[in-house]
Symmetry: C2
Subunit: 331 residues, 2 copies
């Protein structure tokens, strides 16, 4: 079959151990020998078998990434951050989509542990006891990215969603002292619960009584945004502004408003969340919360490498900064 370390050893008149040392850059090899071995490796076209190596060394230099949906503009940037840092540290990543389904998540964790990944970056809605149990069945580090952990046991990288939502809502209230609408996805999804809390807190601090009719739930998609805003506009007194849980949904909201013959921001202001690329691809461009998605992925992966190397980490829970980015969809 294919060339093994044994073939190289024979051809170079050395032992397997020496070849192994050369391949792994072990300094205890005489330069002459190294050169000779390297030459025969080249000549034979030897390619180390990472599976065998993994079995012997108990390290696969592969990490798992569990992600809700790679085709989402939000998560794909996160994934890029993870990948880039993984590559930088010579890891490969096995990526799998969970669609935020708990059973899929649990199953994926299992599969990845079977594959002996050296660590896992997990992105999802929420962490439950069951997740924790599943993680604990193996001894590999796990880092959460853009995922909140109610049990607060796992290392994680996030922004402060609640404060961000608070700021967005306050920003909207500042101008016109009225309750903005809030268009969002399910509470169990992607920190939406925290956003809701921030929204409510901002209202409270501004002494505005919460009218739940102005809170509309729908899918976090473009069409979900359109549908939701239609519902909002049908209300007897529709609000002068809307805070939307994601940018893509917010773009739908803007278009839904425009399709009703209203103007953004003149008639209704719109505030998004995430600053994905679509935010500047709408007219008016979207005011939003800048969440450093790429960085969240990158920092999470970096954190994971630390755990995998058994370095000690100072911050197990990283909170990355966010900020309000004003564009043209608000006054």
């Amino acid at each position: 079959m294919s060339i093994t370390i044994y073939d190289v050893a024979r051809e170079a008149n050395v032992s397997m151990a020496t070849v192994s040392r050369v391949v792994n850059g072990n300094p205890n090899v005489k330069p002459t020998t190294r050169k000779k071995v390297l030459a025969t490796i080249e000549r034979l076209g030897y390619r180390p078998n990472a599976v065998a190596r993994g079995l012997a060394s108990k390290k696969t230099t592969t990490v798992g990434a569990i992600i809700p949906d790679i085709s989402s503009i939000f998560f794909s940037e996160l994934a890029r951050g993870i990948e880039d840092i993984a590559t930088m540290y010579k890891y490969n990543v096995i990526l799998s989509n969970s669609d935020q389904k708990k059973d899929k998540e649990i199953h994926l964790i299992d599969t990845m542990l079977e594959k002996q990944v050296d660590g896992i970056v997990f992105m999802g809605g929420e962490i439950t006891e069951e997740h924790i149990n599943q993680f604990s069945t193996a001894n590999v580090p796990v880092v959460l990215a853009a995922t909140n952990d109610t049990t607060d046991t796992l290392p994680s990288v996030n922004i402060d969603y609640q404060t961000a939502a608070y700021e967005a809502t306050s920003h909207l209230i500042r101008k016109n002292k009225q309750q903005p609408g809030f268009i969002t996805g399910g509470e169990h999804i992607q920190a939406n619960g925290l956003k809701y809390e921030g929204y409510v807190k901002a209202l409270k601090d501004a002494n505005i009584e919460l009218d739940e009719k102005l809170v509309i739930y729908n899918d976090c998609t473009y069409n979900g945004g359109i549908t939701a805003v239609q519902q909002l506009l049908r209300l007897s007194e529709s609000p002068p502004s809307v805070f939307v849980a994601t940018d893509e949904m917010a773009v739908g909201v803007i278009h839904g408003i425009q399709d009703e013959g209203l103007r953004v921001p003149e008639d209704i202001e719109v505030f998004g969340f995430n600053n994905t690329r679509v935010a500047m691809m709408v007219r008016p461009t979207l005011t939003t919360i800048v969440q450093p998605m790429y960085d969240i992925g990158a920092v999470a992966m970096r954190l994971l490498t630390k755990y995998m190397n058994k370095e000690d980490v100072d911050e197990k829970t990283v909170v990355l900064p966010h900020r309000v980015l004003e564009r043209d969809s608000t006054k």
Copy 2:
């Protein structure tokens, strides 16, 4: 350390071989025995080691996917198609970004072969001799997705870019018998060469003499589109329509036109390519070529499974249908 097949065998009073059979669903096991083994597996929390299994069986149930950029809206949908079908056939996928850099691509192929993937889905700009060589150093099947192979040796899944571009251009010419502008990325990138050929052929068939000044190259990004269209509008006689190589770029083109105080489609028509999600997130919504990205990924992966199972395939080169989707950016 952790539970091995040996532990299970001992606890269940059977041999390793029997446990292996149970785990692998081999029918040659007495039901009683199977039950007993299953019970101890459960009790011990045994989890098969896929690395050891891979070494022994020479199959990893893992495939590699080399992709230009997972954060691109185009490729991330492709990736989702790949992932879904991979999951369906019990494969995991190692995903890596190449940024269309040839050296990265070659290196990634090498790494994946080291990891003993059972197959590779490759997405990139163009396939060169060097790629072919690298692929041939191992004995695993490779399928190209949305990637053209000038050497035409590898199985692939594509749409007919040239015809699609021909149709788009013809569509634009039909109305106003004038040469549309063509805004595109580099020729070596992502089938842009083929699109150019289709564009030129359409002009020729319409007896319009090609004016190269109307062909503008820039990055295939939103900002690239803006910059390119500014350049186009600065021409003494700017064209009545533009064909743009990708949707994201086309959205930039639309906004660039609008920012100059011109209207789409009244003053200039815009035609995109790919039908990514942004196409319906612009106003006016974008007329474009529907390219079934998810399906390209899915079909490519399905094709790969056939090769991996040594089934025989009837079409080694799959061309998926495309179509013109008229929206509001053209008259």
